[in-house]
């Protein structure tokens, strides 16, 4: 997680144009000489349709300085569960492992696994793409995105409480060992080791999320009431995780639309207006032509 690149996240209500905005930004940055990776984190991927190229877990070069990949959530869930299963087989007795097999079939459908798979993918992408200047994440709609950003904080809350209890248990065990065996050293608690590892992992992610030099949140919205309300909800929810969108992009803005309301509500953020295109923004050439019509673009 020590890479020097910048992560740009595009989030917002379903259907507002997060994928299009992230694709436009990716092309714009690639054109300005930045080595860019565009990653689709949405399980319902759109980038393949936008670029008219079949993408997968392996990044595909679409033009100079621009690579695109789509995260396969099921791949990450299965890989994670098979890692856990392997560790269990190493430490558990045969019978208990056998009993656990039944649980693993349903664990992959447990609430929370999807956002954890996204987090694993995010960490892997950051670790493997230290050569990139910018990584752009096209996020899923609001619910899953908020869970993704909230995961480090929520996990740390649980882990701190579990750590407190574990330390009390270890303290008590030390007293018993001292009475029974004198000064004999006891082995370091394996559960405590795991808790420490997890705390370090989540604290690192949380630090990167909260660092505005490394993580830039772009809120995409449309000039309509539903999208406006949900954008406000996203901002207030992110506040709970100490995260604040830096840029607001108003997409599909119709001609002569009065954006003063939006400007007033989001006045402390950079505002980018993207007017509604007369033709569908599909294909690299169409996207490049659309970018040429814009007078300015947010500086990253």
């Amino acid at each position: 997680m020590n890479s020097k690149n910048k992560d740009l996240f595009f989030l917002g209500k379903g259907g507002v144009g997060k994928s299009t905005c992230s694709a436009l930004t990716a092309i714009h940055l690639a054109n300005s000489g930045k080595n860019t990776l565009l990653v689709s984190m949405d399980p319902a991927h759109n980038q393949s349709d936008i670029f008219d190229v079949k993408f997968s877990e392996k990044p595909v070069k679409v033009k100079d300085n621009l690579f695109v990949k789509e995260v396969d959530i099921n791949f990450w869930i299965n890989q994670y569960l098979s890692d856990v299963k392997f560790q269990i087989k190493q430490t558990y007795s045969y019978l208990t492992t056998f009993n656990l097999e039944n649980y693993f079939d349903i664990i992959k459908f447990s609430p929370g696994i999807e956002e954890y798979a996204l987090l694993l993918a995010y960490q892997d992408i950051r670790n493997k793409n230290t050569d990139k200047d910018v990584i752009i994440f096209d996020m899923p709609p609001t619910a899953l995105t908020l869970k993704f950003f909230g995961l480090p904080k929520l996990s740390l809350l649980w882990l701190q409480k579990l750590l407190e209890l574990r330390n009390k248990i270890i303290e008590k065990r030390k007293i018993i060992t001292k009475i029974k065996l004198g000064k004999k050293e006891i082995e370091r608690d394996k559960i405590l080791n795991k808790l420490d590892q997890q705390i370090e992992q989540y604290a690192n992610v949380k630090t990167v999320f909260e660092n505005n030099d490394k993580t830039v949140l772009n809120l995409v919205m449309n000039p309509d009431k539903l999208s406006f309300s949900e954008s406000e909800l996203i901002i207030s929810s992110l506040k709970n995780f100490n995260l604040f969108p830096t840029n607001v992009i108003v997409n599909k803005c119709i001609k002569d639309y009065d954006i003063s309301n939006i400007e007033k509500s989001f006045n402390y953020k950079n505002l980018q207006i993207l007017s509604e295109s007369t033709i569908p923004l599909l294909g690299l050439n169409v996207l490049e032509s659309y970018l040429d019509t814009l007078n300015s673009f947010i500086q990253y």
Partner: protein
């Protein structure tokens, strides 16, 4: 001479008695601590593995990451669920009645 012998004998008996008393007190204290430790381990197991027995639980990945080191807790949890249907027999076995 006899008086000294008697005193030494008495001293030895007193030391022996004190050691026996001390050891019994220590055992009793350790028993209590061990019982308390066992209960704390149960609470820890229930907190981490609650999802397996229908309790509110931490995010699933915390449970799964700790699971490989918690076989003892996991087995105990499942045994507790098995005996949950017959609390009376569980109570009697706890007091070693049957």
């Amino acid at each position: 001479m006899n008086k000294n012998n008697l005193l030494n004998k008495l001293k030895r008996k007193l030391v022996f008695g004190w050691k026996a008393f001390n050891s019994a007190a220590q055992d009793k204290a350790v028993d209590t601590l061990e019982y308390e430790l066992g209960e704390m381990e149960n609470v820890f197991g229930l907190l981490v593995l609650g999802a397996f027995v229908g309790f509110p639980s931490p995010p699933m990945q915390i449970t799964l990451d700790l699971l490989p080191e918690m076989e003892k807790h996991f087995t105990l949890m499942l045994n507790k669920v098995d005996t949950a249907e017959s609390p009376l027999s569980d109570l009697l076995s706890a007091f070693d009645v049957i």
